[in-house]
Amino acid sequence: VKYLWFWNFWHWSAEGAISGTLLRGPMHGIAGHWDEWFHHEAQPDDIAAIAHLSAQPERQREFIAWLVRRWAPNALWKGERPSARFVLSQLAQLPPFDEWITLSAFRHGYGVRGLSAIVLADGSTGEAGDVRHTEAIAIARDSAVAHSGVVAEGFTAPAAQLSTPRRAVESLLTGRGRLVLLTAWFLGGHRPFPRTMRITLGGAWLLVCALIVVLLVGPDPGAALTPLMSLLIVLWLLLVTIDGSVALVVAAQAWREGRRVRATLDRQEVRLSMPGGLRLIGGSAGLPFALNVLLAASRAAPSTTNDGWLWRRIVRALRTHAPQWAATGGIDEVGRVLPVVLEPKLRASTRQGAITHVLVPKQSGASRAAQERDTAGNGVQAVAHAQSAPPRSPTVSGFTATGGDQPEVHTCSHLAQAVLTIAGLSSRTQRIMTGVAGMASAVLLAATPDIRAILAPAPAPMIVAPFSSTAYALWVNLDGERQRDFWVVLESGFWSNRRVMMQRSNMRSGGPPRAEIPLRRTVR
């Protein structure tokens, strides 16, 4: 057995927790347990093996790789796998691991970079240091002690400021937030199609609109009406089927995946780390905290083969791009992003230099704050939306700005929107196309009776008695289905091509439908 000493330690720790000698489980209490075991319980053979390992960085790396790949998947505690990153970050603080250069990345965190939070220091007007690296990791809850959903490390905060972001994430996974996410994606999110397919579908929707316009305001198509209408309906049905079925599949997958990640999160405790020893006042870190909790939850839930396109895109983007993003904004339990003070925070993000995107609440003055930041902070121009950002021109610097580029400022009003923005799923083109498709569909649905009359007309109505017999009124009663779909042409030697529609008044009074040409004597 490789690294027998570590297994000895782990089993000593687990047995101690089972017997009650140790209060906490072997993972939550690993730091104290190791300290006790290494200094007071380890056998000389164990100590010698550890010393041998500690002597060379190559062997240290080998051990770390073994711990991550071999040990963590096999060392179950109450059915849960221990988090290798958590174990490494805890051990990295203790002898002899505190001298291992290979563990230096774990000495100040978990080695997972999350989304930065912009938290102003006392009296700060927006300095680079106010953009604070934040990271989160989810570990199995310890049933031996009372737990909270989120544990702050490196800072202190009121419990509500930690639990609210978690509840917002829970809502995003299985509650109202999930509906908001799916709706926002449906209305303006990229579809899982290749580019050519997207262009083709967009073109097809434009063709539908063009046909509608032609039929509404164009010249009378005459005999081409039925083929044109058939083409329009077939095309529309095809597009609705494609878009609808794709949306349904993606939504169903996201629905299922959200439930799976939520189930994992329910068994986890999130450790949220933000170095600096701050005591947080105010809730403006709620949005970055929530995004980091979501990131931690996605890491804790091992991906499956059918985890769904939408969540896969979101999770991949969060893991890859989170270090380049900073965020500020309060959050409530259903994921709504609440307004905060913006100007100094945008200034801080500019001065930080490494951040390329900033998420802020959609609030009055967000664009103005971004512009003021640009003119006062760095002399570089940018606007609140990435899509409308003009070319950047690094010119005169008003402050001792360290960054060359301005981070792009993105506004959001809900956690779901923030997630879609980071994942790059928000698309203005798709929003326009959804609008176009919605309007076209609304017109076609409103015109359903007429379309039916064109494509599947009822048999022509028959004239029934009585009918007019005087020269002062010319009318006929009709019998049959859907009389209003028809014009009545009353032809005689005196009039030509006199078309009239059914009269509603006669139908309302209980009589048969009637078509009438009202006549007025002009000469006696």
Binding site: L22, L23, A31, H33, L94, R141, S143
Partner: protein, 191 residues
């Protein structure tokens, strides 16, 4: 003092000077008093702290769904007497009695109070009648305090099966080591 004085003369001279400057030897009564535990020497202070400790609740209500029923949460009432006096709880994370020695690790988390290098830890029985013994709790890198102390003869057998998850039959008075070093000279683990 002559330049040609021998080393022996110099030593005798220095010894005489030292005897003259030395404080008078303590009296036998003082020596006996210094061997008594601090709570016997400062009974009023001890009683005040004991009264406060007895007011602090320890019973579990099992309102927290995550705590397994029947397992204690390791909380023990404690008074930290540093610059400020704080009534708090320590969490006993490791309790083991082996070969007459008590091995304990506990966490002390008091807002705004940095960790101490070492704490004089006075164990008091639940009834608060008297102190049981004093041990030094040393700060460890894992963020906990560790005690390894010999138990008084009577306790070793009583506490033989004590575990961190049991109801712990003691309360603690914690004093930063430096603040009491001058007033007590009890050896580690002994009253």
């Amino acid at each position: 003092m002559y330049r040609d004085a021998s080393v022996e003369t110099l030593l005798r001279w220095r010894s005489d000077r030292a005897e003259l400057e030395a404080p008078p030897p303590p009296r036998a009564a003082t020596l006996i008093a210094s061997l008594r535990p601090w709570w016997e020497r400062e009974p009023m202070q001890f009683q005040v702290w004991v009264t406060k400790l007895q007011r602090m609740p320890v019973a579990l209500g099992y309102a927290m769904s995550a705590v397994e029923r029947g397992r204690g949460d390791g909380r023990v009432p404690a008074i930290l007497s540093a610059e400020l006096e704080v009534e708090t709880y320590v969490q006993m994370r490791y309790v083991s009695v082996r070969q007459g020695r008590l091995l304990v690790r506990f966490a002390l988390d008091v807002d705004g109070v940095p960790p101490f290098h070492a704490l004089d830890t006075t164990f008091i029985d639940e009834g608060g009648v008297s102190g049981l013994f004093v041990a030094i709790a040393a700060w460890s890198a894992s963020g906990e305090y560790r005690i390894d102390a010999a138990l008084p003869a009577g306790l070793a057998s009583t506490w033989e099966n004590l575990k961190a998850t049991d109801h712990l039959p003691f309360r603690l008075i914690l004093q930063p080591r430096d603040s009491r070093a001058a007033t007590r000279s009890s050896p580690e683990g002994m009253p």
